[in-house]
Symmetry: C2
Subunit: 198 residues, 2 copies
DNA sequence: CGCGGGTGAGACCGATCGGTCTCCCTCGGG
DNA sequence: CCCGAGGGAGACCGATCGGTCTCACCCGCG
């Protein structure tokens, strides 16, 4: 039904100190395969680290997952999405539209992995779950970024606008996961309508 | 990180023949908790059936999941979404907008479970996976329904239109899963812009 | 009455899960 | 030079996974 495999050490097995290597291996495996599908054995094999070394740095798989989500936010949200968006435009409205210009080549990658926060959120059922709380918090911070841009663009209701923009982003990411390579263009066209309307 | 539990028999444990009871129990558990999180033990406990009885009707968990997806399409897609939409309006454009009127109370349910097809698709990694193929096929058929309405509404590019409408639907479902109870209204407003534009 | 199919209960299987523990080796600093 | 911390290897733990097998039972049909 779904195999993980990949018990071979990856390129990140030679990175730096143990903690960095573990997190690097977990980052790739979790990003590609989700949380439940990736076992501790796969992570230690991938990062070339002993079992006990992992548990010396992370108390449990859950803590490792939380560290992964933090890293994902640092790398994907801030280091990639926000940085690329801000590099591509100055005007806030153009920055909002630039989100989908950044998405477009991402959607076309053959190793497209989708949004980790959405995936983790859907994987964790329990509403009290710390992992679910962390992933929804990451999504909320993405919305905060959008809301600031919307405010700068002078839209009437920045919160509603940001939530709508985020619907376009999430919908297009899922569509891209389904195989629609043009999902970014479609979402951008919808975004243009929203911007034009006020 | 995420517990399933619910080892007590559910109301569907007294339904009818064994196969029906198994499928009914699996339907509830899979819909609420996803596929990976639900074990065979939980399903047999829920449906009040012996282990071997399950394996006499379904060769493997994968086959049970495929049967679940079929049932989900019958109940959710056709028996609920499409039926409700067609009951609420005659005009194709109004039917498209009615999708979000149908979504709205669904999003507000406290046992809101989200879209099973999206969840199963994201849970299964392997591109060759039969389960993933079945879930994306179900999503494609939803798009087919939208495309027919778009064609009847006389839009210029029904395929592009349906894919955009589906982006709004999927995005709003994920947003609702995050906790945005007003996601249906937001998506509907975006839909209105798309309809107005052509 | 007797027979046979469908079922329930539950032991059992090997594999894997997350997590613990021990032993040994290596390497750097006093 | 020695010592101790950090890390590698891998045995081990109980629990759970999907799946198999046996056996007794019940019920309807001939």
């Amino acid at each position: 039904m779904a195999r993980t495999d990949a018990l071979t050490p990856g390129p990140e097995a030679t990175a730096g100190d143990a903690r960095t290597r573990i997190l690097a291996g977990a980052y790739d495996l979790f990003s590609r395969n989700g949380i439940r599908a990736v076992g501790i054995d796969a992570i230690i094999a991938r990062s070339g680290v002993a079992r006990m070394t992992l548990y010396r740095h992370f108390a449990s798989k859950e803590e490792l997952v939380l560290a992964y989500l933090e890293l994902r936010e640092e790398r994907w949200t801030r280091g990639w999405l926000q940085e690329e968006v801000e590099a591509r435009a100055e005007d806030p409205a153009e920055r909002l539209l630039a989100v989908f210009d950044v998405f477009d080549p991402w959607f076309r990658r053959d190793d497209f992995e989708g949004c980790a926060f959405i995936r983790v959120m859907l994987e964790s059922i329990d509403g009290e779950d710390a992992v679910r709380a962390a992933s929804t918090a990451s999504l909320t911070r993405i919305r905060g970024f959008l809301e600031a841009l919307a405010r700068d663009a002078g839209v009437a209701d920045p919160d509603d606008f940001a939530r709508k923009w985020h619907i376009l982003m999430k919908g297009s990411i899922v569509a891209a996961g389904e195989g629609d390579a043009d999902a970014a263009r479609r979402a951008q066209e919808l975004g243009r309508l929203l911007l034009a309307q006020g």
